[in-house]
Assembly symmetry: C2
Homo-oligomer: 213 residues x 2
Amino acid sequence: MDSKEMAPGDIERRSFEIITEELGGRTFPPLEEPVVKRVIHTTADFSYADSLVFTHDAAHCALDALRAGATVLTDTNMALAGISKPALAKLGCKAVCYMADPDVAAAARAAGTTRAVASMDKACGIEGPLIVAVGNAPTALLRLAELMDAGKIAPALVVGVPVGFVNVVEAKEELLARRVPAIVARGRKGGSTVTAAIMNALLYQITRPGGPK
Amino acid sequence: MDSKEMAPGDIERRSFEIITEELGGRTFPPLEEPVVKRVIHTTADFSYADSLVFTHDAAHCALDALRAGATVLTDTNMALAGISKPALAKLGCKAVCYMADPDVAAAARAAGTTRAVASMDKACGIEGPLIVAVGNAPTALLRLAELMDAGKIAPALVVGVPVGFVNVVEAKEELLARRVPAIVARGRKGGSTVTAAIMNALLYQITRPGGPK
């Protein structure tokens, strides 16, 4: 084996074939299947085939929002870095993360809260279709739920995949109890790479028709 | 549960306590334990307690290199985004990723190879102690092995945690067959968040003495 053996596109295609084989005969709704498979592709963890849930026609709502030029708000710069910029640009979408913004740090300090919470407050000012993608901070999901309950924010989709051991499972269940379209990895697992994989799988359904599912 | 319940530092401490509890009585070498636990913290995946291997006194060599102001080269901008910039700065270290550099793209095109391979070639020009941290492209690891064999590069540490289904397991075993200090997640799993977690766990051992292990 040398370092020049296979092109990246071929590797991706072969990887999706292996994932399909190892999923056996399992089937998923057509708009959800590419999401499940890309998350497995990103993590090599087949448990996501069971833990990923889609509520209120989430995949369909996501594609509508992306076709309408949505803003994608992430809670980490890692997730932001992982979302395909060419795919976003092709659809007139953009991705933002407020975690490093000085006004968010100042607001968090003033309110005695976290930057994750303050960045959800700032998101209430975003115009147009909004996708909120949370891969790290369960407090961001909890604050989002409070803001939705108060009628201050109405995302077209929430991706709720924070990872961890404290408040994570509970925050995801709080999200699932809301009437918002959501894609959630139930349990402890998730993270920035899972967030980016979900968003890219949604984007590629529009920008790469016929690409690996 | 509301969004203001716990400070991030408290959540991290409690998370590490839970991880320690769930690892039962398992013990790890002192310099490796914080790495294993932070990877589990980042992934909520206890399989890393078995799959992470450290060769040739890797953790010790890593800390020496970081104390000497190492350059950390990553193969994704996601991993780069996840490595603590304050911790790097405190030690006079820096992290770089060449994947988006125009000269790397041009070199890859000219050689009919991938940017991951071309970025390893570019890394041969880095002066001073070098840590190469690969969380995505198995071809980067394979090229690195070729360059080490040819005497063109001599990293103080290689972090080898690409994730995936094609060439990943084999590339990790190629790395483990070399005489270089290496931290490797055997098998298919790994990724950019795992890369960043390993680097941060090493950095924090120097910059946060007494912090959560």
